[in-house]
């Protein structure tokens, strides 16, 4: 059977096809590489219209990545999708706080979701780089803590997917004056959140 076996060859050709088919697009070069990677991850060209990349967000993200940070994710899937070789090169690490054993107990005690408890814990530990692919309540919690002066996020990926609360949670987080990349509306997901982080890391590592 005759098929391309080189992953990098497949990726290069994929990005060419995406470029050819995506039509008019006003993103600058680095932002465009994020948009293309999200389309590459989903096969869905609509992302070029619903990806919101705040001015200066790419610079802020790269600055954090270059200093070697802990990246918070709200799901194991997002954590699994973030490229481990690129993370290692950058001396960064990723952690899905909600998976920590103590989080379930804290959530029960405080009568909040585990996602919310996970954000509180990350904030306590000084995390600045937040990636959300699933949990609207986590975004609300981060907004709340930021407005209260308790959290100081320096970069946010806001990509919860869904039909209840997801779109609203992204609208709400956008009200913060923080560098961020979001997916507007219902679409999003852990795979997309991971793709955005990978696109950012590859700007430095490749």
């Amino acid at each position: 059977m005759d098929y391309i076996k080189s992953p990098m060859g497949i990726e290069k050709r994929s990005f060419e096809i995406i470029g050819e088919e995506m039509g008019e697009c006003n993103f600058p070069e680095r932002e465009l590489s994020i948009v293309k990677r999200v389309i590459h991850t989903t096969g869905d060209f609509q992302y070029k219209d619903i990806l919101y990349i705040r001015e200066g967000a790419v610079d802020s993200a790269l600055e954090l990545l270059k200093k070697g940070v802990t990246i918070y994710t709200d799901t194991n899937m997002a954590a699994a999708g973030i490229n481990k070789k690129a993370l290692a090169k950058l001396n960064c690490k990723v952690e899905c706080f909600v998976s920590r054993s103590e989080i379930a107990d804290i959530a029960k005690e405080k009568e909040i979701t585990r996602s919310m408890a996970a954000v509180e814990k990350a904030v306590e530990e000084g995390v600045e780089f937040f990636v959300f692919g699933n949990a609207p309540t986590a975004l609300y919690k981060l907004k709340e803590l930021t407005l209260a002066g308790k959290a100081k996020p320096k970069f946010i990926v806001g990509a919860p997917v869904g039909f209840v609360g997801a779109a609203d949670s992204k609208e709400e987080i956008e009200k913060l004056d923080v560098p961020m990349i979001t997916i507007r509306g219902r679409k999003g997901g852990s795979n997309i959140a991971a793709a955005i982080v990978n696109a950012l890391m590859y700007m430095i590592t490749r």
Copy 2:
């Protein structure tokens, strides 16, 4: 701030909204629950038109799940997205073979992709339940081994996403006379592959 904090409450309402908005749909009840879960995972209604569920595939999958099998996945993301509580209830486990340390060496020695080497290893170990969310080459390899009488897959989720090889790989795997669920065309992904497996498990565990 006022927002729904119960994950199950959010999911229930989400499925209601999906049902209301998805329009005419001829899937039987169990198949419909798979379609809805994929839409829930992506926010993308197009999946109702590109999800292919072969007749008898649900029964075959449930039979395997009930006997407690190892589920092969081609990515850590798909493995991460498969519900661990449901897996445990069913006495099933999930393994991303490509992450095993020996696979890179085997791939190098045989000059094949790691994805292909991972399929070979899974087949050697008698895996019957295959889940693909990313690697077209892995699907080709499984087809090859099946036609050669070496592999005996009893259920396949074929959901690679992408612009080079993905759609073809799914067309090719459909030529096998094996119970399967695929996503036709370019769309798909590890999140979708995991959602399909979760929908199947929930038919038994919930």
